[in-house]
Symmetry: C2
Subunit: 129 residues, 2 copies
DNA sequence: AGTGATGTGCAGAATATACTGCACATAAGC
DNA sequence: GCTTATGTGCAGTATATTCTGCACATCACT
């Protein structure tokens, strides 16, 4: 359900990284210069959508992420895979491996990961989403 | 540069899969029921943005993709990686591997791919796009 | 109490997205 | 030539996104 716009995603990124913060603090860490009122309008939208919550401390509101980064990430990846790879995660992997984004070390690490997980269906569920 | 909206992406998907087509044909293959005027408004937007081009054949316009699927895909993946993984493709892979999206066979295939590609810069280009 | 800095609330506004509707043009068959 | 599909052009609407501006509240300090 995320489908964050660029502006929303930047805000979420700051909150995911730094936790609970008030607007002026988010503003400082926002990836590009942004004016306070503009930022606050993003916060309002995210609040409406339920992706963040806020809490009054003194005279200021402190905002924090409700939607978890991992959830948003997984959903986004799924959407990309569905849209571009006919639902097959393999095509995404192939693209990643073929592109310059993966160094040789990363490939080695990747194989290690692939080895570590497999035999049989993993018992531990990952149903937190 | 893509940042396709859901509607735009659906249109691009049809054009990527089936090549040059006129609106009524795209409409038939659109993933969900869509009215002709609605579809045409997407086409107009995509045309404005330069993602598609059109050519008159008889009385109808035939539309085809200008932006390649591979390009849009790569860019989208990069955006996701930048936004969610601090630019590291590895985090994306880790997520894919840990999720239920990859079967055991896919992991085996994955390792094969990781093995097949590595040492040095790959000589074979994949520039057919 | 008065002043300034910092926050908030609210009311727009410009553009983009996601549509709808209808008049008009063109091609094909009678 | 006339009618009927089929397709286009254009204008308009509703909502979302991305902002801006300003009045007002609160806190700290003197």
């Amino acid at each position: 359900m995320p489908r964050f716009t660029p502006g929303e995603l930047s805000v979420m990124g700051v909150l995911w990284e730094h936790g609970e913060m008030k607007p002026s603090e988010i503003q400082e860490r926002y990836p590009e210069p942004i004016k306070n009122p503009a930022l606050r309008s993003y916060l309002t939208i995210l609040l409406d959508k339920g992706h963040i919550s806020r809490r009054k401390v003194g005279k200021a509101y402190y905002y924090k992420a409700v939607t978890r980064q991992q959830s948003a990430f997984s959903e986004t990846v799924r959407e990309v895979i569905d849209a571009y790879c006919g639902g097959s995660a393999q095509a995404l992997l192939l693209n990643l491996i073929r592109s310059e984004k993966l160094s040789e070390e990363e490939l080695v690490e990747l194989k290690r990961l692939a080895d570590g997980e497999p035999p049989g269906p993993p018992k531990r569920r990952r149903k937190k989403s």
